[in-house]
């Protein structure tokens, strides 16, 4: 009897001891593919050290499907605990649901946030609500095929004149196995609204200018002399210069990557997330060098562009809201950020160990170059996406029907006027 009582006591004690450790799962939806799944798995393991029994389940969707799934799930109260994506995509989710949590109190409760700068916090804010906690800064540099540069006898291009000269040499002296007809100076994209403007952002911010289309005061900038010069050269790059494949007008991410990885273009955008893949032998095999975007005028300092900010957001109807907030804060911690650097190549902290990375990865990780953030106009003008869509259509119309003499001045002046009218209308209606 005494033995039985003892056993019962042991079982009861065991049950009491394990009672707080009950399994709990957090679900996060993103579009980062296999790398993202590996990153969340690693973060989940770290998180579980302080939160036994908690598991992180991440699901990756193609970007286009991610929107529909997230918006649909939030609107039908079947939302995941957290969502992770670029700030402008989260803004689109908020504009269609209006049900994302204000992350200011969540971030305020984090002991570890001093490394987040003013620009990063501004990006995260939309209609006076902080939608994301910034987790990964997205750096975009100019990449050039190293063997192509060597063959052309050129150093890394620093000015727009250098870029033009190098692009022509690439075409005149194609790599072995290619012809001039299928070799190009640049790989760019244009098909979707964000594609073309993102490319223009790189040229504008990378050349030391600010505000691609509109400044924080609501003034259209594209016909200012320095901006107009960049825009004119940008449009010529797509048309009369022949630096890009003729089908670029229909190219989105996939096709642009086919051009780059297929060895058909010598210069291209390199995001920090591209490096790991492009160091593999079946892609570029590490045969590229990176640097800042070219400057268009003497006296300006060219730069690498911080062209995006990925962050974590929480739907108001998140099933495990409190735990989701804890995990969102954890994503800023040193172990989580170290995992982000090593698996994704992007981060926001400045105290990470970069010694295990390859030289190209270290170039981004050390960020010793001049880094200029895009101005993220969505955060200032809530109606910016509609203005941007109108600007994109206008630019596409121009690229599809370029002026016969190659002079874009009249086009740029007319476009600026059209954008001013559109901005006035949109700001009135919002």
């Amino acid at each position: 009897m005494r033995c039985l009582t003892g056993l019962t006591g042991l079982v009861a004690a065991g049950m009491l001891a394990t009672a707080p450790v009950h399994a709990q799962q957090l679900t996060i939806w993103h579009d980062l593919g296999d790398n993202g799944i590996a990153w969340f798995q690693r973060m989940g393991e770290e998180f579980a050290r302080t939160r036994p029994g908690v598991t992180i389940r991440s699901q990756s969707f193609p970007t286009e499907q991610w929107f529909g799934r997230v918006i649909g799930a939030i609107n039908t109260d079947s939302a995941p605990d957290l969502i992770f994506n670029n700030y402008e995509r989260v803004i689109r989710v908020q504009s269609q649901t209006n049900r994302l949590l204000d992350m200011r109190p969540v971030l305020a409760a984090s002991p570890d946030r001093t490394f987040l700068g003013e620009a990063e916090l501004r990006v995260a804010t939309y209609r006076n609500r902080m939608l994301i906690i910034p987790i990964q800064r997205v750096q975009m540099a100019l990449g050039v095929r190293k063997s192509w540069l060597d063959r052309a006898g050129e150093p890394f291009p620093q000015t727009w004149d250098d870029v033009q000269r190098v692009a022509r040499k690439f075409k005149e002296n194609p790599p072995p196995g290619s012809t001039a007809a299928n070799t190009f100076g640049f790989a760019l994209q244009a098909a979707r609204p964000r594609d073309l403007i993102h490319m223009l952002d790189l040229f504008v911010f990378g050349s030391g200018l600010e505000h691609t289309l509109i400044d924080p005061a609501g003034t259209i900038t594209i016909d200012r002399p320095a901006h107009a010069r960049v825009l004119q050269e940008f449009l010529r790059t797509y048309t009369s210069y022949g630096f890009v494949p003729p089908d670029t007008i229909n190219h989105s991410f996939t096709e642009m990557y086919q051009v780059i990885e297929g060895g058909r273009a010598g210069m291209f955008r390199v995001g920090d997330w591209n490096v790991r893949r492009w160091e593999q032998p079946n892609t570029l095999g590490g045969d590229f060098v990176v640097g800042p975007w070219p400057r268009f005028e003497a006296g300006r300092e060219n730069a690498v562009v911080a062209g995006g900010m990925r962050g974590v957001a929480i739907p108001e109807n998140s099933p495990n809201r409190q735990l989701a907030q804890d995990f969102a804060r954890f994503m800023l911690s040193q172990p989580a950020q170290q995992a982000s650097l090593e698996v994704m190549g992007a981060f926001v902290r400045n105290d990470l160990n970069v010694s295990a990375l390859t030289p190209l990865q270290q170039w981004f990780a050390r960020a010793q170059h001049r880094l200029v953030p895009s101005d993220f106009p969505e955060a200032t003008h809530a109606w910016y996406p509609e203005l941007e869509a109108a600007f994109h259509r206008r630019l596409l119309t121009g690229i599809a029907n370029p002026p016969a003499n190659g002079d874009w001045s009249a086009f740029i002046t007319a476009t600026a006027q059209e954008m001013r009218e559109a901005a006035q209308r949109l700001s009135r209606n919002n």
């Binding site: 609107n75 269609q96 007809a181 098909a191 599809a400």
Partner: protein, 301 residues
């Protein structure tokens, strides 16, 4: 009176109970998976997008319809869809009919079956794979189309990158993919026609052209009708070829209604997207019924 009518109906149902028992499962499936989603989609078009999927959506009446008709991109897209459909139906049916007549004639005795199989093969080829290959063929830097034209000393074809030629380029790709199916329907109709009429006409001195126009063509009316209705529905809904080959470009030249609605779906603008889908659905129904009605009227004459 009403009671006796009900009783007669019940007696009829009981008498034909075996027939209705067999039909019932398919009727249920059609209602559940065919009609019900369409009705739900129409319902969504009268709600505010942000609340469309909630249990108690906000009803906005015809607001989504006003919004899309005020959008010049949509009206242009609708017009382009109608023009593209008209061109595609005519091109596909004419091409398929020509092929069918050629294969049915005595001119192609040898290898007839092999040619039929070759022409039908694109129909069973996965459309995405086929269109990817066409995209490469039209590519202006390495595509076979321009390489061939260059060899012949002909000017380059703008293909998918020029607004002037993009519609023609996807029409050609769709012609390759679909015309084999229409050809098969024409061939089936040609096989069951009354050949004695042609012999009689020949004896009476009719020319081959008169025989074809006045004897054979009228007998092909069932195939023409089926193909015309089916092709109209198919090309009004043109989608896959656009996704794979142009993404609506260049400069919205191939941004047909189905693709435009899909883009809005992606942005969570369900109300406007389903309003577009409803308009497209209505056009398809009206056109299809009109074609059947016109055909029946001309048939009775």
């Amino acid at each position: 009176m009403a009671l006796s009518r009900l009783s007669a109906t019940l007696r009829l149902l009981w008498r034909e109970r075996i027939f209705y028992a067999f039909v019932a499962p398919f009727a249920v499936i059609t209602i559940l998976f065919g009609i019900w989603p369409i009705l739900l989609s129409i319902q969504v078009s009268f709600t505010a997008s942000a609340t469309a999927l909630r249990a108690t959506p906000t009803w906005v009446g015809f607001a989504n319809y006003w919004t899309i008709f005020a959008d010049p991109l949509f009206t242009t897209s609708l017009w382009r869809t109608l023009v593209y459909t008209g061109l595609s139906v005519v091109a596909n049916l004419a091409f398929a009919l020509a092929l069918a007549v050629l294969l049915d004639s005595t001119l192609l005795r040898r290898g007839n079956m092999a040619i039929r199989v070759a022409l039908f093969l694109p129909v069973v080829t996965p459309d995405v794979a086929g269109y990817v290959v066409w995209r490469w063929l039209f590519d202006r830097s390495f595509g076979a189309v321009n390489a061939g034209l260059d060899m012949l000393g002909l000017p380059a074809f703008g293909g998918l990158s020029s607004p002037a030629t993009a519609t023609a380029a996807i029409l050609i790709a769709e012609l390759w993919h679909h015309s084999g199916f229409y050809m098969l329907i024409f061939l089936a109709n040609l096989a069951i026609r009354d050949k004695q009429l042609e012999e009689a006409a020949a004896i009476d001195g009719a020319t081959p052209w008169q025989i074809w126009r006045l004897i054979i063509l009228p007998q092909l009316k069932p195939a023409l009708l089926i193909n015309a209705v089916y092709a109209t529905i198919q090309f009004l809904k043109t989608f896959t070829v656009v996704v794979v080959m142009t993404k609506g470009g260049p400069n919205d030249q191939t941004n047909f209604v189905s693709y435009y609605a899909y883009q809005l779906f992606d942005q969570g603008r369900y109300g406007e997207a389903t309003a577009m889908a409803t308009i497209l659905f209505s056009i398809i129904i009206v056109l299809s019924l009109s074609m059947l009605w016109i055909s029946e009227r001309s048939g009775t004459k």
